[in-house]
Amino acid sequence: MANPVTGHVVAELVFFASIREALDCDRLTLDIKDGTPLSELIDVLAVEKGENWREALTAENVRVAVNQELVKGNPRVNPGDEIAFFPPVTGG
């Protein structure tokens, strides 16, 4: 995905359910470097958006998916990745 202003390839972040509501945001794009650790991406968001973003995205039980695959720990992410944050699922 390319940033429409800079033309850079950017990461796309998506938020669902209670996390989307807490952040009042369902989607945003972020310029990141190749191999950025997820924790660093969250540091950037905390600076740009506020500490409440760090709290919401690092709370217990928050699930993270990169390119629609669940990930654990602190994986490295890249420009072009789709990074999703969501609470435990409750379908069915």
């Binding site: 359910a17 998916a65 969501f86 435990p88 699922v89 409750t90 379908g91």
Partner: protein
């Protein structure tokens, strides 16, 4: 990977039990058993009166997760064909939320594969429910009984 026919749909409208059943039943000549599950919105949850339910999901990831669940079921049991239809959007008590169906040669496989698909769907497919009750709105949280049900499939079953 075992080859398996499947149909996975996330949609707002209601589904037709008859159409989904017929598709499974006539999927192949060796179908001997069709098991279906339908889940509906209950009027009471955790002792509060439910007036409405809003379901959201992660388009793309949801369908992939359900396909993985069906593929895993087909590794463990004889699955000729399987269907999962999950509704999203605004629902009300009595409305159907989810359909799961499995066509197999024999009933044991059809029952186990269908129950497995539902248990895994509950804990893996990216859906979220927000409930409106007479006590206010709330996001549902995972039930330990659902986690336990999915976990139980990791153990060797008495019936295998």
């Amino acid at each position: 990977m075992v080859e398996v026919n499947y149909r996975v749909v996330v949609q707002e409208p209601a589904f037709s039990q008859q159409d989904e059943y017929e598709r499974l039943r006539t999927s192949a000549l060796n179908v001997g058993a069709v098991v279906t599950f339908a889940g509906t919105v209950r009027d009471i949850n955790d002792d509060d009166t439910v007036t409405a339910l809003r379901l959201e999901h992660y388009p793309g990831m949801t369908e992939k997760e359900i396909q993985k669940i069906i593929a895993e079921a087909a590794e463990r049991w004889v699955v000729i064909d399987a269907t999962v239809i999950h509704r999203v959007g605004d629902l009300h008590p009595g409305d159907e939320i989810v359909f799961a169906g499995v066509a197999s040669e024999h009933r044991g496989d059809a029952f186990e594969a269908c129950a497995f698909i539902m248990d895994y769907l509950k804990t893996r497919a990216t859906f979220w429910k927000k409930e409106s009750t007479t006590q206010g709105d709330r996001w549902l949280t995972t039930r330990q009984s659902d986690v336990d049900a999915a976990e139980a499939w990791r153990e060797p079953s008495l019936k295998e």
